[in-house]
Amino acid sequence: MHFDPTQLATPLFILLVIAEMLFVRFAGRGRYEPRDAATSLVMGLGSVVFGAAFGFIFVWFAHLVMPYQLMTVAWSIPAVAICFVLDDLTYYWWHRSAHRIRWFWAEHVTHHSSQHYNLTTALRQPWGGFLTIGFIYKAPLLLLGFPLGMLALVGGLNLVYQFWIHTEAIQKMPRWFEAVMNTPSHHRVHHATNARYLDSNYAGVFIVWDKMFGTFVPEDANEKPRYGIVKNLATYNPFKVAFHEFIGMAKDVASARSLREVVGYIFAPPGWSLDGSRETSDSIKARWADFRSAQSPAE
């Protein structure tokens, strides 16, 4: 049986993008810019092409792991439901790593590289997953005995869920929903470069992971998110969008003068440098906190 939720949902994605464009145009909430949207859409298509070309690496990896499975989980609705929840937990940790370890960020930065936040941003997907092998985060689920097909199914459903949360058209969902699920409001915070919002809300489907692991930040009505990355790209070239951070990392490693520097440039948080001359999200947050306390010392 071949059931690919992402492929099946593609016509719906297109209809929703068109509906959102019309909403933004006539309701005035949200932003679209043609070249940005074109880049996002091309990145989405490219990720499908790269996924098809290099998907065999994940299958090969899965077959390496599967002989060590602790048990065999049979296909059933409860099994799929449990797999979906556990997969979302592994997604949380992968995603957190993707913001805190430059190796994974080099791939994931693509998704954050738009200064817009609309449904096309959801489709701005990386091409370099085969380089960073982030799928190792799926290994625990394989070892628990979940079939490869089930992981592919729940991974696809997770991706489909995350599509609709990339919008400014929806302000807040009902309170109970906001409490449990990832929503446009929570995910806007995740895509924001405002110092107070940096490195937060890593959830895929269930925001409860962020609440459990201390990374949840609610959207503040008084501070509108500004989207993009700390050093926004000045290009729409899809290849540069996809691989710029890999090239930056390679250049840094080539110029490193010690093993410590090599390790730091690959595995430390994005922006790390030996002399501290560059900015990481931690240093930006610290500088912002200093500025705020200087502004209002009584607080």
Partner: protein, 135 residues
Amino acid sequence: MNGQLFYLAISLAGIAAMVGLCVVLFGRGIATLDPSVAEAEMGFEVPGFRPGAFVLSADSRAALIEDAAHHKLYLIAVRGDGYVIRPVSRASLKSAARDGASLALRFSDFTFPKAALAFADEQTARDWEAKLKAA
């Protein structure tokens, strides 16, 4: 193989249609710069930013601005309907060449390799060339 090429062709046609609709609905969406916009952008980018010297290119697409609080120079350039900001320092600036009233800047940044700013007069370009080289 034919099926995959068909899927690719349909996808590209779909992308072209969506981008076309985007152009129809939103136009080309080009931002422009003025001192107040530049200061607001810098205020967000650099906590504690205090505006110092400022110069806007003749086409209002790029500006050089000094942060008087931290004594640093920045380039702010229009990108689509938004802006891109880069600090200008000895580490980031590869060269600054003046040609009459224009300045051509080259950066050691793969995603922002160069910028060209044309000013109203040659003296302005000369003054900012000196500032950039001293940065």
